[in-house]
Structure formats: structure tokens, C-alpha cells
């Protein structure tokens, strides 16, 4: 999917969010969008998913029915348990029947990770309100990974989650891409997330434009040339993360 000449401001706000932005989402790959808070990552997702209409030139658009969009912090009734959440998300997708909804459904995703298998069995009976924010996000993303779509948009899937749980979330996203060859578009401002993926395309959003678009081999080299303080801080964090 390619976007060209995207210029956009919120209807009641004159501040320009995107200024002649161009973006190419590489199909079959993990595409990582990084940018500071308030740069418009969620708005860009809304445009990619056709929720926000613009005059931009869009090629190879993915239809809305083939997109799955994970949204931050949607309140779900606190009294429903993991099983009911699975029923709600999976059966509403039309791809599963009630009889399919068992913890065994997750086995192909979780593989030989006994820790995750134990975790799903435990969360299956636990009320959503009693789960920690990390557990809620983990189970929700796990459920999303079971739905078959072409393009997956993950809006800060690891925000507010401890590193171990974040890695578990990223592992599911990585598997979705590796095993099923799905296109992933993930927004984050936690640069450690990038270190989890072996192959990816990074898109850096700053001042209303994609200022850097490189693959896993070249992005650090190119980013070091940048004068953006945010990007410099990201690189330093990533190098520190790798040395540790």
C-alpha cells in the first residue's frame, strides 16, 4: 500500500498534522512506525484503514474487511472472563464457532512455550477487570492473531507492559508475519520493540513527514545521520539495549 501527497489537519484545528507525507507499507513484512507522542501515528493508522478520508493519492489500498486494527485502551466489561472475551472477539469475526473456543485453539500460536500455555489457562477463567493491563493486552493481541486478515495494524501494542510480557506480545506478532506471511504495521515509541524483529521496515514519523524509511540492515546507519533528537535518543536506547 502506498500513500503519496498526504496533507492533513484536524477539521477544527489548523495545525498541520501531515505535510505532503509519503508512505509505502511493504507487503508481507513487519513495518514499524516510530514517532514521538502527538506526531499523528494513530491518525496515520486511521487514514491507512480508511476511517479518515483525505485527498492523498493511495495505491494498492487494502479493503477495510481485510484489515484488523488493534486499538489502545478500549474498555471492556470488567466482569467477563477470558473465555467470554475470546468468544466475543473470535466469534464476532465470523471465522470461529462457539464450539471452537477452547484454550487448545492457542496451541499452534503458543507452540512449545509452557509459560504462555499456563498463562492462557489461567486467564481463561479470570475476569477481565482482574487481569493486569499487560495480561489484558497480551490475551487481546493473541486473539487478534487468530483472526485471518491481510493487514494488521497494532497501535502501541506494548505500551504500559513490562518487558517480558511485551516480548511475549511481540513474539505473537512476529509469528503472524513469519508463519502466515501477513503484513504488519505497528506503531510504537518504545524502540526496544524493534530489536525483537529480525526483518522489518522502519518508518520514522516526524514533523508531519516520514523522514526515514529503511530496512533492518540500513536504518541505524541512516538514523545516525539524522539531527532529530528523538531519533538520536532512540538509537542510543537501542544500542544500550543490545549491549545489555
Amino acid at each position: 500500500m502506498k500513500i503519496r501527497h498526504l496533507t492533513y489537519n484536524y477539521p477544527k484545528n489548523h495545525k498541520l498534522i501531515f505535510d505532503n507525507l509519503s508512505l509505502s507499507i511493504v507487503p508481507g513484512k513487519v513495518n514499524v512506525l516510530i514517532g514521538m507522542n502527538g506526531e499523528g501515528k494513530t491518525t496515520l493508522f486511521d487514514i491507512v484503514s480508511d476511517l479518515v478520508k483525505t485527498d492523498a493519492e493511495m495505491n494498492d489500498r487494502v479493503p477495510i474487511k481485510d484489515i484488523l486494527y488493534q486499538i489502545q485502551g478500549v474498555p471492556i466489561l470488567s466482569t467477563i472472563n477470558g473465555k467470554s472475551l475470546a468468544e466475543l472477539i473470535l466469534c464476532s469475526s465470523g471465522q470461529y464457532h462457539l464450539k471452537d473456543i477452547t484454550p487448545k485453539l492457542f496451541e499452534p500460536l503458543l507452540g512449545n512455550d509452557p509459560d504462555s500455555v499456563r498463562k492462557i489457562a489461567y486467564l481463561w477463567r479470570m475476569q477481565y477487570g482482574k487481569m493486569s493491563p499487560g495480561e489484558r493486552r497480551w490475551i487481546t493481541i493473541l486473539l487478534y492473531c487468530l483472526i485471518n486478515k491481510s493487514l494488521y495494524l497494532f497501535d502501541e501494542p506494548t505500551a504500559g507492559v513490562d518487558r517480558y510480557s511485551a516480548n511475549q506480545i511481540l513474539r505473537q506478532i512476529q509469528m503472524l508475519n513469519k508463519r502466515k506471511k501477513k503484513t504488519i504495521f505497528i506503531a510504537t515509541h518504545q524502540i526496544e520493540d524493534v530489536a525483537y524483529f529480525s526483518h522489518f521496515q522502519i518508518h520514522v514519523l516526524a514533523h508531519g513527514q516520514i523522514v526515514l524509511c529503511e530496512d533492518q540492515d540500513n536504518w541505524i546507519k541512516e538514523a545516525k545521520k539524522s539531527k532529530l533528537p528523538f531519533l538520536k535518543a532512540c538509537i542510543n536506547d537501542l544500542i544500550r539495549c543490545r549491549t545489555e
Binding site: 484536524y10 477539521p11 486511521d46 484503514s49 476511517l51 479518515v52 477495510i64 474487511k65 484489515i67 484488523l68 486494527y69 486499538i71 485502551g73 478500549v74 474498555p75 471492556i76 466489561l77 466482569t79 467477563i80 467470554s84 468468544e87 466475543l88 472477539i89 466469534c91 464476532s92 469475526s93 465470523g94 464457532h97 462457539l98 483472526i147
Partner: protein, 250 residues
């Protein structure tokens, strides 16, 4: 099949917020018991009592629709539930349908329970009450629900919609209590159009007059059909123009 889990979820949400039942079921029940307290386990004047029950059933139809239609969708939109499930279930119609079915189930259960209690307390024919209630629900529930979908199409936030909804039910109650139907005047048509409670009440009274073939119907079926169509068109246009993204951000 895809509607079932979402309908079940919305039913859970409705049951979770039990305080709403005080207004939608408790108020009619307490009111009818208080106003007819002298006739408990006796035989009050049947036609008048049934008319009173029809009035409170129309109140239930309107109040449940006020709470579960547009204003509930505004809440779902602002909480981004609508956005989330647009991508899971692939279109917004499924979310609206599931919300409607949960509304229909709770309304029907409340109305049947209300009829049962009223028929026991005031020795009324349960079959007649259920028949009238069934006709009122079948005829009115979709148009009245559609009418209040209008809220979802307006660029208002939940904080704005909620006080309007709270005030509207009192407004509808007052103008229905000053019941002007009986003649198909311009004023009556206007009242029917603007007051869905009056519309539901007239549907019930019209069916009651059909059962007791002596009485003339308060308004013609054609007029009621016309009003139903207007409400349905408002609902359809509202769904088409309904926003998915929260107003506070966009």
C-alpha cells in the same frame, strides 16, 4: 451466528448496569401499584386499567430505546468499541444489530414480567395484555429505536447526549399524559411525530379498540404507518451518517 456473541456481550453490559432497570421497569411497576393500590387482588375497571398498562408499556419502549439506541452507540463510539469491532466484525451494521437484539430481549422480558405482575395484582386477562404488548413491541420497537439513532449521527459527545436523553423522557411523559389523540388533526400528527411515546401509546390503544370492537380507534393505522416510515427513514439516514471515530479526537 456472528451476532450472537456480541448480543450476549451487550446483554451482560445491560445487566451489569442494574440501576437503569429502576427507571425502565421499577418506575412503571411502583407507579401502577401506587395508583391502583385500592384494587390490588380486586377487579378494577378493566378497560381503564389496561389503558394504564399500555401507557407504561409505551414508556418502557421509549425509555429503553432512549438508553440503548443512539446514546448507547455514542458511548460505544467514544470508548472506541465501535472502531475496534468495525474491524473485527467487518461492518458497523452488525454492531448496531447486536445492540438492537439485546435491547429487544431486555424490553420484551421487562414488558412480559410487567404484564404478568399486573394481571396477577389486578385480575386482568394475561392473554389480552400479552397480545397488546406483543403488537406494541412488534410495531413500535424498530421505528422508535430507529428514531433515537439520530443521536449517533449528531456531532455531540456522550456528556452532551446524556442530559438530553434524561430530559427527553420527562418531556415525552408530560405531553403523553396530556393526551391529545382522538382526532387526526394537524396538532395530533405533529404530536405523534415528535413524541414517540404518544405514537407507541396510540398503537396500543388502536389494537385495544380492535379487540373490543365497540370502540373507534384513536388514530388511523395509515397515520401510524406513515409515522413508522418517517422514524425508519430517520434511523436509516442516521446509520449512514454515523461517525465511527470519537468526536473528542476528530
Amino acid at each position: 451466528m456472528t451476532l450472537f456473541p456480541m448480543t450476549k456481550h451487550f446483554l451482560r453490559v445491560m445487566v451489569y448496569y442494574k440501576v437503569n432497570f429502576i427507571f425502565s421497569f421499577g418506575v412503571p411497576l411502583v407507579s401502577i401499584i401506587y395508583s391502583l393500590r385500592k384494587y390490588i387482588f380486586r377487579h378494577p375497571e378493566q378497560k381503564e386499567t389496561i389503558e394504564l398498562i399500555i401507557f407504561w408499556i409505551s414508556y418502557m419502549i421509549v425509555l429503553y430505546a432512549l438508553m440503548d439506541s443512539g446514546s448507547a452507540l455514542v458511548r460505544l463510539r467514544e470508548e472506541q468499541f465501535l472502531k475496534m469491532f468495525l474491524f473485527i466484525s467487518r461492518n458497523k451494521w452488525k454492531v448496531i444489530m447486536a445492540r438492537f437484539f439485546s435491547h429487544l430481549i431486555v424490553l420484551t422480558a421487562s414488558a412480559v414480567l410487567f404484564d404478568l405482575i399486573a394481571s396477577i395484582l389486578f385480575s386482568l386477562p394475561f392473554g389480552t395484555l400479552i397480545g397488546i404488548t406483543a403488537v406494541m413491541i412488534c410495531v413500535c420497537v424498530i421505528p422508535v429505536y430507529s428514531l433515537f439513532l439520530l443521536f449517533a449521527a449528531l456531532p455531540f459527545r456522550q456528556e452532551t447526549i446524556q442530559p438530553i436523553v434524561n430530559l427527553l423522557i420527562f418531556f415525552f411523559l408530560i405531553i403523553t399524559l396530556n393526551h391529545f389523540s382522538g382526532t387526526t388533526t394537524f396538532f395530533n400528527v405533529l404530536l405523534l411525530l415528535t413524541n414517540p411515546m404518544n405514537y407507541a401509546f396510540d398503537v396500543g390503544l388502536t389494537f385495544l379498540s380492535f379487540l373490543s370492537s365497540n370502540d373507534a380507534p384513536p388514530v388511523s393505522w395509515l397515520l401510524l404507518l406513515l409515522i413508522s416510515c418517517i422514524y425508519l427513514i430517520i434511523g436509516f439516514v442516521s446509520i449512514i451518517n454515523m461517525k465511527i471515530l470519537p468526536i473528542f479526537r476528530n
